[in-house]
Symmetry: C2
Subunit: 712 residues, 2 copies
């Protein structure tokens, strides 16, 4: 590690002086400039000599202490570099190199003097910077009124965006120039059960931007004890600035020294694929804090879930009551509707299916009392997380699943009543472990209680982490729905397998999902961490369940297969009904085969909003899986198999759209073909409108295996 201290004592007395310091990325393509001008700190960033982020302000407005936005002088600066390689507990690659050059500037301001550190880290594919408030005499407790961080783009980029909102990320993405956002934002504000769009013109992070041969992604890393950031847009000058999620009293971060903000991240490349491969957000997070991780296992699962979304489907609730008062319910006396999904009998069917097809887990939603009237009225107490409905036998199912070698996955819908959940959490987690559950899907549907809090405020950010930490203490893996968008914290807490925090498959039944959605998600929401997208819908035409309901999943069947590879997650659901998989056993074979943990990943083709093709090498094997998806346009995918070992033969099974496949007209048309491939092979594969293909590639164990196969 190289180390340099720059003493700037001469400059301290004179804040109008421009102090400047620069560092470059290890590959020297990125250059960061930091300077103080008339007491205001600024930074800028260039890529290959071209400005990416122009002169951009740093600082804070405060609520209960003087602002920390100007009158700054530099006390000292350190430059250092770091290079290390670490192994994730699970992930897209086996090893991750963490190499950066760092500039740490210690600024002081005000009278009496108060200190803040800004720490910049330059990686080959981007940068991160954060503010740190060291322990000091004249700053202890403080509440932020606003963080003033700017991202001065200075250009009208094409953006892949959803509206800035303090409670939801479940909007459809819009692709437009930054200058067009204002006119499009109303249409982009779809109705979501709990939403708080910002009054200011703003977009969510991760924000994906595309310019002339440049791709930029802005997000944050290691969001902890701080509100999530939305990006306010000045669409005249193309300057983004931070807008933090407020608490009910308007505070935007209640901190005590020593403390720090999350990292603000800017990823930059002239190749879109580089951004998908970036590990900078993970690297900016703290190393794994869980000592024993042998209980943390990537997994594939099925579950009692999609049958409650399809037309004419079943329910979470056991009984049908109107305006029921919780404290007056005796479930044994209620008349069941007969539409309750989470019955002992039905769950056994899923356990049988999981066992037969090699799935690790079975999720069951709607097993516990409270669903008769749980949502939309901000009730403080709905669920207790431990009391099953009369038709769900916890002990019997525990035994049945254990006998079949399948794990049941717990479901805790909190109804966004967070103090209630925290009050029951210890008992609920103990209940899980007692009954053989070691994975949890949590949910935060509805407006947050405490009243006035937001899903992305500091209190909630702390809550999600508390839940993950408490789960880790009990050796429980977590899949959180409706939490704050991930920021790479799964490096630190690898029991945090996946999250929702975006528009997932459920919207195919609830509203709609645009055909380009899955080609944008990896460049946006997935930059922060895995998503429980729940792919695998084979019966895409939902009028199948009720001819009067004209709804469809807007993909081909083959694209659903490809999502298991393009949409990285260590937790993957086969979301469709068992009976639908049984109708297409040959296609289902890919879902049975595909891995959920990887030693290597190659981004073969990538263009946000258009297409993505990815190859991944299954953990501890020589098998590869490829997924390729398109947007609403048909295309040809051209890939090389040069990622395969030299001199070896493989068998590639290609699950592709049929010749006339089309997500609207012919979604279930697919072909399955086997080829002999090696690292010289190439594929030129047609892809349908919102179509895709998936390939499983296994090393040939003998020449006999491949002798009848066509060479690709």
């Amino acid at each position: 590690m190289s180390y340099k201290t720059i003493l700037t004592a001469l400059l301290v007395c004179c804040t109008s002086f421009i102090y400047a310091e620069s560092i470059e990325s290890p590959n020297r393509q990125l250059k960061l400039d930091f300077y103080i001008e008339s007491g205001i700190p600024y930074y800028s960033l260039s890529f290959k000599g071209e400005t990416v982020i122009g002169k951009s302000r740093l600082g804070f407005e405060m609520m209960n202490v003087p602002s920390m936005k100007d009158e700054f002088s530099l006390r000292n600066a350190h430059v250092s570099s770091f290079d290390d390689t670490w192994e994730p507990v699970w992930g897209e690659v086996k090893e991750i190199r963490n190499r950066y050059n760092e500039l740490e500037v210690l600024l002081e301001q005000g009278n009496p003097k108060r200190e803040v550190i800004v720490r910049f880290r330059l990686y080959d594919d981007g940068m991160g910077f954060r503010y740190e408030f060291p322990k000091q005499k004249d700053l202890s407790y403080f509440t932020i009124a606003e963080e003033l961080t700017e991202f001065n783009l200075g250009k009208d980029y094409k953006a892949f965006w959803i509206r800035g909102d303090y409670d939801t990320n479940e909007y459809s993405y819009t692709t437009s120039q930054l200058s067009e956002i204002a006119e499009k934002i109303k249409d982009a504000t779809e109705a979501i059960p709990a939403q708080s769009p910002t009054k200011e013109l703003a977009v969510q992070t991760p924000l994906m931007l595309k310019g002339d041969s440049i791709y930029i992604n802005i997000h944050e890393a290691a969001l902890k004890d701080y509100p999530a950031m939305v990006l306010k847009l000045d669409d005249k000058n193309f300057v983004l600035s931070s807008l933090l999620t407020p608490d009910p009293l308007g505070g935007k971060g209640r901190l005590q020294t020593s403390s720090q903000t999350p990292w603000r991240t800017i990823l930059v490349s002239d190749k879109a694929a580089d951004l998908l491969a970036s590990k900078t957000i993970l690297n900016l997070n703290e190393p794994n804090k869980i000592k024993n991780t042998n209980w943390i296992k990537p997994m594939k699962y099925v579950g009692v879930w999609w049958e409650m979304f399809v037309p004419n489907g079943k329910n979470w609730a056991y009984a049908d009551t109107t305006n029921i008062k919780l404290d007056s319910i005796n479930y044994r006396q209620l008349k069941p509707t007969g539409k309750h999904a989470a019955t002992t009998e039905n769950v056994k069917k899923y356990i049988d299916f999981a066992a037969k097809n090699g799935f690790d887990g079975v999720l069951v939603e709607g097993w516990n009392i409270g669903w008769e009237d749980w949502f939309g009225h901000m009730k403080e107490y709905v669920f207790d997380f431990v009391t099953p409905y009369p038709d769900f036998n916890v002990n019997e199912l525990q035994q049945y699943a254990a006998d079949k070698g399948v794990k049941l996955i717990m479901h805790h819908e909190t109804s966004a009543s967070v103090p209630n959940y925290e009050q029951h959490m210890d008992t609920a987690y103990q209940f899980m472990k007692k009954h053989g559950y070691d994975a949890l899907k949590s949910g935060y549907v509805g407006k947050i209680i405490p009243y006035g809090e937001h899903h992305y405020g500091q209190t909630m950010v702390n809550h999600y982490l508390k839940a993950i930490e408490k789960a880790a203490d009990q050796e429980i893996m977590v899949n959180a729905h409706e939490p704050v968008r991930p920021t790479g914290m799964h490096r630190t807490y690898p029991n945090y397998l996946a999250a929702e925090s975006a528009r997932g498959t459920e919207y195919e039944a609830l509203e709609y999902i645009n055909p380009d959605h899955q080609t944008i998600l990896p460049f946006t929401r997935l930059m922060g961490g895995p998503m429980d997208y729940t792919p695998g819908i084979f019966q895409t035409d939902l009028s199948y369940y009720d001819p009067t309901v004209k709804k469809r999943v807007n993909t081909t069947l083959a694209k659903q297969l490809a999502l298991y590879v393009t949409m990285y997650s260590p937790l993957q659901m086969a979301a469709d009904l068992p009976e639908n998989y049984e109708r297409f056993p040959d296609a289902f074979q890919f879902i049975k085969d595909v891995a959920v943990d990887w030693d290597d990943t190659r981004i073969l083709e990538a263009e946000p909003g258009d297409f993505i093709t990815i190859a991944r090498k299954a953990k501890g094997t020589n098998d590869w899986y490829v997924g390729s998806i398109s947007d609403e346009n048909k295309r040809r995918s051209e890939i090389s198999f040069d990622f395969l070992d030299d001199g070896k033969d493989y068998i590639a099974t290609i699950y592709a759209d049929g010749p006339n496949a089309d997500y609207e007209k012919n979604p279930q048309s697919y072909t399955i073909k086997k080829y002999r491939v090696n690292n010289k092979s190439k594929l030129n594969q047609p892809v349908a409108r919102s179509g895709g293909y998936a390939i499983s590639i296994k090393e040939a164990k003998s020449s006999r295996e491949i002798k009848n196969l066509k060479r690709l």
Copy 2:
């Protein structure tokens, strides 16, 4: 029970018609009129033919549904009467008669029709009324924007008031005409650690009013799942109206049918003593819900407490650290200050003292980690309620107290971080029971977390009750500090022994308490339930501890004794230091003797703000105790002993102010004299400025006992 149904079908169609219905109290002194005029419901109340409450509006503004304030018509009305007698688990009297006449009016309004019931109950000494929202088709969930209930006094009464505030009742009382409140309210707004004075001109309940030979008290009963009410004052027309405590989103009660408001209570008499004796607020509460009550025991206690308030005193905190971050503390590594009060050794001293003097319990504050930096910064996590400081040995003290037959009393300061407390509550209560504690003092110092909630909002009202219910499940008695002011809920939950919710003895050391304070409290705060006032300070001059600190307890020593009788509570502390009691063993004898549970109570003299004299008969005995206190003026108290049994002789020990006693100049001067008394005896006793006297009266067991005693 008489029962009458009035069908008013003919009137329903015509809302401008004036419908009127009346009922009288059983003694016919109070008369209630209810009527609808132009669709608006009103009530009025008269006492002995004179109007007490003039035409006063009823109704609601709503947030998310149409208002329920006009366009009302009457669907029907019921008149009934009720007479029953019940025995409290503990109290001022052995039996309580619950006798009232009731008018229930079912109103409907709007299109589609929505229903509300107003239920009036007239007692001999006052009335209660509440709104009820029955289960109905077109009203299920609703949020109140404001309750419009008026109390149209129409006269400029003398009021004993504190400022309307959503977070505190710890102000000093001001005595003034209603018309003078506006000019005095600024001076009356003393600085309190957490306070939210209403923007509107308003006062707290219970509000005590005095007119020409009339006394009126306005409060509420059975406050549950609803925000507490403040009284807004129109000081031109002398109309009070309800102002409910808002939640952070401005809601003032989030309800679901069926539900009801608390009772609004108006007590009326021409004798102040009648109001002190009133059981109407208790009667309006639900009967006891706790089946087995044999673990609920009124008690006297001492504790590690006052020594942390006196000058040069000790601390709750173990170590002295500035701006300490909780997550970085290792208590074993901290250097103790040597001023920590809750040490094993010190607690043993209190246990010894309690055992020697017959006290039931020892309270220990500051036993658990977190006090180094607990208050003033709205930190979500401070206390865990189970981890003792290194110098407090839980197991050793459990054994020591058990060996001496003394109960330790647990202390849970929540730092007003309520979700944190609820999260730890189950474990904390289990910890108590495991370690032999069966009584709890809880505290809610500081601004409430969740941010923007108030101590008196619906969420907090629900929290306090949840804590009491959970404590009852574990057979734990509760003494809550800084909760919402009591409204008689101790009838329903008799494990709720006492509360603070007013300016108590601690303010004698922190700021000051006015000499008339204790003569007002029984007419105000204590109307709703017992207060843990913590009397018994013998060393009233606090410069005793530090000559530079010119602070004093603003009473004489004898008045401190009298408070054990005048300030009713089943939980009474002897708050001073053991060494101070040892300096005055003869006076201390009264505190050792005085009972905390009673078969009978007689209000002998009472004038709010001036003086109170009360006699009480100790539970299950023939012993009586008398307490008499004065305000800042000296006076003569004249009482008769006619409450004693006819034909019996008693020994009365009178603990009185010394001839020159004065709360400022000579507070520790007292005399103790014994007399022979019977039910013909009379006493004419001088009382010093802010002075008092206490009498213990025991039946003479033999003539020998009394033969040398002077007859009174």
